[in-house]
């Protein structure tokens, strides 16, 4: 039971080092992201390993994992598609666009596509309401969705997965700066390129 420690030794050290000595429990969220990447999901082994690394009781770690919405107890697709249909996005057509997305992904909200590539979830506001309909795919933002751009986008994601099998499950969420050893953080929408702020 050292899948996590074998895969991310440096990252674990870095995460724990962020906090004062003796406060290693503060790194639990960071380690859960890493464990999710290493194990594919936060199953018992993953929880137990995080607990033993941080000297916590597995019950505490499981509690944390269960509290937050970005942690998965069960297997999920290589790409987790989190589609916002909260009020602001819904006002701009997010509910109407959902069936289009479902059809193109080949799965309903809450399900995983038959090829195991996509898990679709409807989520609450993602702080990009000005560019609805929008979604995150493995926490990467994709804005101003419409049927036409979606085709291109999904084709690109499929292509990425094909050339980079680790893209397929298990795939961990989390900031690449925290998971240097995980799949590369290339994005159609690289950070800093101005995803919002149309209005000014």
């Amino acid at each position: 039971m050292d899948t996590l420690q074998r895969r991310f030794p440096e990252e674990i050290k870095a995460a724990v080092a962020r906090y004062p000595a003796g406060r290693q429990a503060s790194a639990v969220i960071s380690l859960l992201y890493l464990a999710q990447a290493a194990y594919g999901q936060l199953d018992k082994d993953a929880i137990d390993e995080v607990a033993s690394v941080l000297e916590m009781d597995p019950t505490q770690v499981r509690g944390v994992a269960g509290f937050y919405s970005l942690f998965f107890e069960r297997p999920h697709g290589g790409y987790v598609v989190q589609y916002c249909n909260d009020l602001p996005c819904a006002l701009r057509g997010a509910e109407d666009f959902l069936p289009v997305l479902e059809e193109k992904l080949g799965c309903k909200a809450g399900e995983t596509s038959a090829d195991g590539l996509f898990t679709l979830e409807c989520v609450m506001c993602l702080a990009a309401c000005d560019r609805a309909p929008m979604m995150q795919v493995n926490l990467e933002y994709f804005h101003d969705l419409d049927a036409a751009t979606l085709d291109g986008l999904l084709a690109e994601l499929r292509a990425r997965a094909a050339e980079d099998p680790p893209r397929r499950a298990p795939f961990g969420f989390g900031p690449p700066s925290e998971m240097a050893g995980a799949a590369p953080a290339t994005g159609a929408n690289p950070a800093g390129s101005g995803p919002t702020g149309q209005g000014g």
Binding site: K44, I47, D48, M56, D57, P58, T59, Q60, V61, R62, G63, G66, F67
Partner: protein
């Protein structure tokens, strides 16, 4: 803490004075006003989650300019009420605060919160074990809406109870998410094994520890659960709360002496609940104490006297059996003298049994061969140096220091472990002196680790450091100076070579000991067996605490009444109340109450009696044959053996006469706890067959053999004890049962009619049904000088180790394979199979792995066990818990010694030793 300052607050017009910082809920309670609660619990930190306790709170308005309270025209302070209702559990009382609980807004809040809680509740009260003593039911009756408007079928449904641990079932539908169970395990027990998973309405209580809900205290969560979400496995569906009749009792499974309420129906025990004793167990109980009662109704209990005829034990009447015993003993005494007869008792019998046992042997038979086993105390140490005054271990805190010496507190005295955790929370310092890791290490202020073979040098070193640290404050007496000279060589440097102890830790420990306001030293069998208890007496004296109120020693014996056994003079050289056998005055004093003066020569220890020193033995509540085959052999050679027992133990099976006794659950009597608290217990269920209380058997046997005292009840026996034992003077059986005056630290009692017998559980305790809280017997005036007489022997009788051998140290676990526990079906799976523990380093050096099957060969044979690798165990040690289902008891393996050199071999599947 500033909490001692008293403030006056007004609750519904009633003024009450409470320490500043008291919660409004508790303050109102003292004013006689109930503020309903769910998540709050008087023994836990307030969290304010359930919002049931919302009340209207105002505080005096302060004039900013003058800093004085504003006054209205009538000269009364102006009260500013908070715009919103406030949670009474988290709001702290302050001077002049006004609380209103009878307003419409408060009533509305209570209705609202109850309606919210009931939206998710299954309302399965007819089949719920909590029904009848359920705060949710009761508060709904009192404050709830009559009807729920949450009408459609969208309640959360879960599969009915799931085992959340081996002893506790969880019904998630019923849970109101108050977190009391989680907080209990975290704050009180220190086991982070329960938690919430998910969030919002999806939250549920879970345990992901391995094994699940891994805590010795899990049963308490079912008491304090305010609904029927957590139930104990053995009480589920057994009875309705209102059918139960509770009788106050005292736990007989360890020396802490937790107060219990034993709830029964139709003469059968249904459950054991904690009964509040603010000085002992507060309202807690360990799982052994709670679940081990099943032995009482075990079908193997002895029901009739047995007499050996033609080599077979056959049933006999009491008259026949007692007549036979009296006749044989009289004949033996006539033929071979009284010295041919000896008596051995166990330490879990009542004071009254033990007292009459000694009286019978010493005065009726005329033999001083009287002893108890296993024994911790061998003399009057506790009368000399015991904790002075009434021990209230639950009140230790800032300024106090507790030394835990040679004792694994959680395993050997679980609720003492809770007391010490609480003391730590309240700012006390706890120092551990031990030969091996234990759970309290993690929280203790300091842990000093000794080499088991050189315990006395560590104690000498600590004493040396304490004398040095105390120099400034204590005047030098000749005794101090002599001791200091004798200890001159035991400096920190020398100690560091022998023990893994750093100089700065040693001096920190000494500083904590010398600087303590109260110094409490708890010691266990490990030091007592090595003869080192006097070193601790010296420690207290060297710290200047001898004879000081609240300071002194506590002996943590192996059995519930180990202290009482010594007090009652079940020791070869000591009479009841610690008069010396060879002291004519002590004997003469006894003779006023006894048929005859006891002989002047001290008698034999149990070991010598069991080594063939006597021809006839009277054994009461002890099983030497089960403990060691050597003893079985010796017992087989006796001319006559009488055994008083609950079960046909290996010893009973060898007896000529077996007399069936009642357990403490079936009779009255008193036990003396490790804090010297004498506590009464009452009959809680029907007796088994023709069994009789031990004291009654001894009384009747005595009457047949010339004694005349016709004691009508235990009370008569106890009152005689109080006359003969100086420390017990002033105690009397009736007043031990008087309810104590309510202390402010007592838990809230329910606002419900209180009856004597019924133990409605509320807030996790059965309330006192007039059982009393017991009293501590008084120690003598201390003499610091004689206490300083201890000197290190320089070498302990350490076993010499052959090449490749390990030092086997026997240890004790809370869950053992004894009769008491194995009779409980729910406890059985928790009893470990035979195991030995080895340090990480030794395991690696020997290529051994976790769970390997090993053979341990000692001086008297060998046993097979599972190997467990333990972090932090000193190299060279092998630990074996006594009391597991060993093929040869480990104490027999070591010929009765606490330590022995042993060899260790790993076995393959076929049971062959592997290289």
């Amino acid at each position: 803490m500033a909490e001692n300052k008293l403030v006056t607050i007004h609750v519904d017009g009633r003024a009450v004075e409470v320490p500043a910082g008291t919660s409004v809920v508790d303050a109102a309670h003292q004013a006689g006003v109930e503020i309903p609660i769910f998540c709050h619990h008087p023994r836990l930190e307030p969290v304010g989650m359930c919002r049931m306790c919302l009340v209207d709170v105002g505080t005096p308005a302060i004039d900013r300019a003058t800093g004085q309270p504003e006054l209205d025209e009538a000269g009364e302070p102006v009260i500013r009420f908070f715009p919103k209702l406030q949670a009474g559990c988290t709001m702290r009382a302050s001077e002049g605060m006004v609380v209103r609980t009878e307003t419409e807004a408060v009533a509305e809040a209570r209705r609202s919160v109850l309606e919210f809680l009931l939206t998710s509740h299954p309302l399965d009260c007819p089949v719920c074990d909590k029904g009848g003593e359920c705060p949710l039911q009761n508060l709904t009756m009192r404050y709830g809406p009559g009807q729920s408007r949450f009408t459609w079928g969208e309640k959360y449904h879960f599969p009915k109870p799931v085992p959340i641990g081996p002893l506790i079932a969880l019904d998630r539908e019923r849970c109101v998410l108050c977190a009391r169970c989680i907080r209990f395990e975290d704050e009180i027990a220190g086991d982070n094994v329960l938690g919430f998973e998910n969030r919002g309405r999806g939250m549920e209580v879970v345990s992901f520890s391995d094994p699940a809900f891994d805590s010795y205290f899990s049963g308490n969560t079912s008491d304090i659960c305010p609904v029927g979400a957590l139930t104990t496995k053995d009480f589920r569906f057994e009875a309705r709360a209102w059918e139960l009749v509770g009788q106050p009792s005292v736990c007989n499974h360890c020396p802490v002496g937790c107060n219990t309420m034993v709830d029964g129906r139709f003469g059968q025990i249904e459950r054991v609940m904690p009964r509040e004793n603010a000085a002992v167990n507060e309202i807690w109980l360990c799982d052994k104490g709670r679940f081990a009662h099943h032995f009482a109704s075990d079908s193997a209990r002895l029901e009739q006297p047995l007499v050996r005829r033609d080599g077979e034990l056959v049933e006999a009447s009491w008259d026949e059996a007692l007549g036979h015993v009296a006749e044989r003993l009289a004949a033996l005494v006539a033929e071979q003298g009284a010295g041919a007869v000896g008596g051995i008792a166990g330490g879990s019998l009542a004071n009254e049994d033990l007292y009459l046992f000694g009286r019978f042997l010493r005065s009726v038979i005329g033999s001083n061969h009287v002893d108890h086993r296993p024994a911790l105390l061998r003399d009057d140490l506790i009368a000399r140096a015991g904790l002075v005054g009434e021990a209230r271990l639950t009140e230790l805190g800032a300024g106090d220091t507790v030394v835990v010496a040679g004792l694994d507190v959680e395993e050997e005295a679980p609720v003492l472990f809770l007391n010490l955790r609480k003391a730590l929370r309240r700012g006390a310092r706890v120092l551990i002196l031990a030969g091996r890791p234990q759970k309290l290490d993690a929280e203790a202020s300091l842990s000093l680790r000794y080499q088991p073979v050189a315990k006395d040098s560590l104690l000498a070193g600590l004493l040396h450091a304490v004398l040095a640290a105390g120099e400034a404050s204590s005047a030098d007496t000749p005794a101090r100076t002599e001791l200091a000279q004798a200890l001159a060589g035991y400096d920190a440097e020398r100690l560091g070579q022998q023990h893994p102890v750093r100089a700065e830790d040693l001096s920190a420990a000494a500083a904590a000991i010398v600087g303590a306001e109260r110094l409490v030293v708890c010691f266990g069998r490990e030091l007592a067996e090595a003869g080192l208890a006097p070193a601790l007496e010296a420690l207290v004296a060297a710290a200047g605490k001898a004879g000081q109120e609240g300071s002194g020693l506590l002996a943590v014996g192996p059995q519930a009444n180990s202290q009482g056994a010594a007090d009652m003079g079940v020791l070869p050289g000591w009479l009841p109340g610690y008069g010396r056998v060879d002291d004519p005055a002590a004997r003469a004093a006894l003779a006023e109450h006894w048929p005859a003066e006891p002989p002047a020569e001290p008698g034999m220890h149990a070991e010598s009696m069991l080594a063939g020193g006597v021809k006839a033995l009277y054994v009461m509540g002890s099983d030497p044959a089960g403990d060691d085959p050597r003893f079985a052999e010796a017992l087989g050679r006796l001319d006559f053996l009488v055994v008083q027992e609950l079960f046909l133990t290996p010893t009973a099976a060898l007896a000529d006469v077996v007399l069936p006794a009642r357990s403490s659950l079936e009779r009255a009597g008193s036990f003396t706890s490790l804090s010297r608290r004498v506590q009464r217990f009452h009959p809680t269920c029907d007796p088994v067959g023709a069994s009789r209380p031990d004291w009654e058997i001894l009384r009747d046997l005595g009457l047949r053999m010339g004694a005349t005292e016709p004691y009508a009840s235990v009370s008569d026996v106890f009152d005689e004890i109080a006359r003969v034992a100086p420390g017990h003077a002033g105690l009397d059986y009736a007043s031990l049962g008087a309810a104590p005056a309510a202390a402010p630290t007592d838990i809230l009692l329910p606002f419900a009619p209180q009856t004597e017998a019924r133990s409605v559980s509320y807030e996790g305790t059965a309330y006192r049904a007039g059982a009393g809280a017991g009293r501590c017997w008084a120690v003598r005036e201390a003499s610091a000088d004689s206490a300083l007489a201890w000197r290190p022997a320089g070498s302990e009788a350490a076993p010499s180790l052959a090449e490749g051998q390990l030092l086997l140290v026997t240890t004790r676990r809370l869950y053992d394979a004894g009769r008491m526990l194995s009779a409980s079906l729910v406890m059985q799976p928790l009893i470990p199979l035979p195991l030995v523990e080895i340090g990480v380093f030794d395991a690696a050096a020997r290529g051994l792995g976790q769970g390997d099957r090993v053979r341990v060969t000692g001086p008297a044979g060998s046993v097979v066990a599972r190997l467990e690798i333990v972090d932090g165990l000193t190299p060279g040690l092998l630990q074996a818990p006594e009391g597991l289902a060993w093929s040869l008891p480990v104490r027999a393996l070591t010929r009765g010694r606490p330590m022995a050199g042993v060899t260790l071999e790993r076995l393959d599947e076929a049971g062959e030793a592997r290289k």
